[in-house]
């Protein structure tokens, strides 16, 4: 079993939280994990990227080669599209439909959505609406984690446990909200 995941977004969208949660669950399952991320200047409102590799065999490279990823997940549609070349045969692209428009020449959103839908396997999630329904737009990353989790060979109850542990210090309400957002994301993948 191996699963290579490319996580992309804009600085501050919480891709490192997603990566850390998946890594935690994979560790509990006794899998090998490698998770490469870029810190520093790149995180300030610019494009950010993390590579996450899970396997029951030893993992050599910290980076995922182009054309080999099983999943590309974008917290933002253009950032998902940016990493389309990472995707391998049969891979799935997951994108939050809501754009972050912090540049002057952002492309036409319909075209970006259409480009994502042109991938044979794709999920376009309205993360903001689902997170809002769950209680706060701040949990968009948990919605996307839910969608991602439904494509991973990892049991869903472990994710619930990891989310609970991660947010425990912020109180029960926050935990419940994040769990709800996670579940909404899972449902979105099934639809």
């Amino acid at each position: 079993m191996k699963c290579d995941i490319v996580l992309a977004g804009v600085g501050g969208q919480g891709i490192l939280t997603i990566a850390a949660l998946v890594g935690k669950v994979a560790m509990i399952r006794g899998l090998n994990v490698k998770q490469s991320e870029v810190h520093g200047m790149a995180q300030r409102g610019g494009s950010v990227l993390a590579h996450l590799r899970l396997s029951d065999a030893p993992i050599h490279s910290d980076l995922i080669a182009d054309g080999t990823a099983d999943v590309v997940l974008g917290m933002e549609p253009m950032e998902a599209l940016r990493h389309g070349p990472s995707l391998g045969e049969g891979g799935v692209i997951i994108a939050n439909a809501n754009p972050v428009v912090n540049i002057g020449d952002y492309p036409e959103l319909e075209k970006v959505h259409a480009a994502i839908k042109s991938f044979p396997r794709h999920v376009l999630v309205d993360g903001e609406s689902l997170a809002k329904e769950a209680g706060s737009t701040r949990s968009v990353n948990m919605v996307l984690l839910g969608t991602l989790a439904s494509f991973l060979p990892l049991p869903t109850e472990l994710f619930a446990q990891a989310i609970t542990e991660t947010f425990a210090r912020k109180g029960e309400e926050i935990v419940a909200m994040n769990l709800k957002a996670y579940e909404a994301g899972r449902q979105a993948a099934a639809n």
């Binding site: 520093g40 300030r44 050599h60 182009d66 599209l81 540049i103 036409e108």
Partner: protein, 528 residues
Amino acid sequence: MAIKLLLGDEALAQGAIDAGISGCYAYPGTPSTEIMEYFQSSPLAAERQLHRQWSCNEKVAMEEALGMSYSGKRAIVCMKHVGLNVAADGFVNSAVTGTNGGLLVVVADDPSMHSSQNEQDSRFYAQFAMIPAFEPSTQQEAYELPKIAFELSEKYRTPVLVRLTTRLSHSRANVQIADASATENAKHLPEDARRFILLPGIAKANYKNLCAKQPQLLELSEKSVFNRYEDGADKSWGIIASGIGYNYVQEAFGGKCPHPLLKISQYPLPVKQLQRLMQDCGQIMVVEEGMPFIEQQLRGPLGNDRIHGRLTGELPRDGELNPRAILVAFGLPAPASLAPSELLRARPPRLCDGCPHVNTYEALKAAMGFYPDAKVFGDIGCYTLGALPPFQAISSCVDMGASISMAKGASDAGLRPAIAVIGDSTFTHSGMTGVLDAVWENTPMTIVIVDNFTTGMTGGQDSLGTGKLEDICQGLGVKPEHIRIIKPLPGEHEKNVQVLREEIEYQGVSVVISRRECLQTLRRKKSK
């Protein structure tokens, strides 16, 4: 035996704690920052009361670590690659004095320049200083090597360089942590304390010792568990792979490299293994992250047609490696991948919404409107983004503190008004000495210190000048009436422009401190 998911930086820090260190010294710099941050959050480090405060710059950190070594205790000093330029004086000379307690100089290189001005390779520095170096391939090796490196450092009385690179420093993996953690060294003075006095007479003798040590250091490399010759049936190629380059070779060949493969993670280069590879194999491919350090030595100045790598074009001359680059180098088929979409637009880093630097640059741009010949010399930090649209307000970014010294040189040449923009942490790192030069000559120039109470770019570490900047400037001799404080807020804009204009008009050294807390650190404090 516990298993933890750790960054390469964190694995090294845990390894150093478990090897019985007494102190860590560092100045923040991507990708090395998380080493010190791990010490600062480690319960064991707290329990042992290990030294784990930030230093004001890398040179100071290096010397503090050497002082701890002199006292018989184990210390590490951590920095990014360009930080080693700052620390170089103490670093090179610590090889001449030698060490007492073990001393590791941990340097994280940033090939591809994700967050740096160049991609210099710290292995050259180790060779230059004639000391051993380690270059771990995995997080597990990063955890295990401090123990071995400290023992080496103490036995051979030499500092040891540990070279990390971005993709190891900032990549997490499962690391097996030992149950036992070594205790600290007792304080003890060097048996021959005079070797730390580098008067020429003593230094000459020390240097002869350092030269005499070299064959022993070579032998250590040849016997090291970190260097490994893995035989392969297809001897048309032999591969030398160092550090993280080894992982990419393994990935490219699916863990079953058909060619003899020499993994190198300890220097000086293990000559015996290199000789064997050269004898056994036809062509040699050198795979190393960073500069062609090994390849250049093997080729020699006259060249050698059997040696391939970055210098011959099979691998890219600059930037980070990746598994695909290895396949291409060997002419093997790489997995098909889509072409990038034509819809993509670049999304460069930018200042946060509401960042105080935005208001500072707005005021500075407005003030400069009155002086078409003005030049603003920038420095290293988030405010370097003032070079990009919409501000395009600074003309240079070279190294820590260069804003002030370059503005002075430009002013000396008659290029005026000469303005420097520097952050509070960068100012206490390397800006203060430049001010003293300018004060000595009363050079007409204006220094804008953007004071956000933190080292922002690297994630908000302590800034040692917090609360002291006016006193420092006054102590350096800047006249109190030309040390002005402004608050970078939209409502203060007109007032701020006026203050900047007054100080630009002044024909001497003036300082404008633009002071408001970094939004990121403010937000973090509030969420606690």
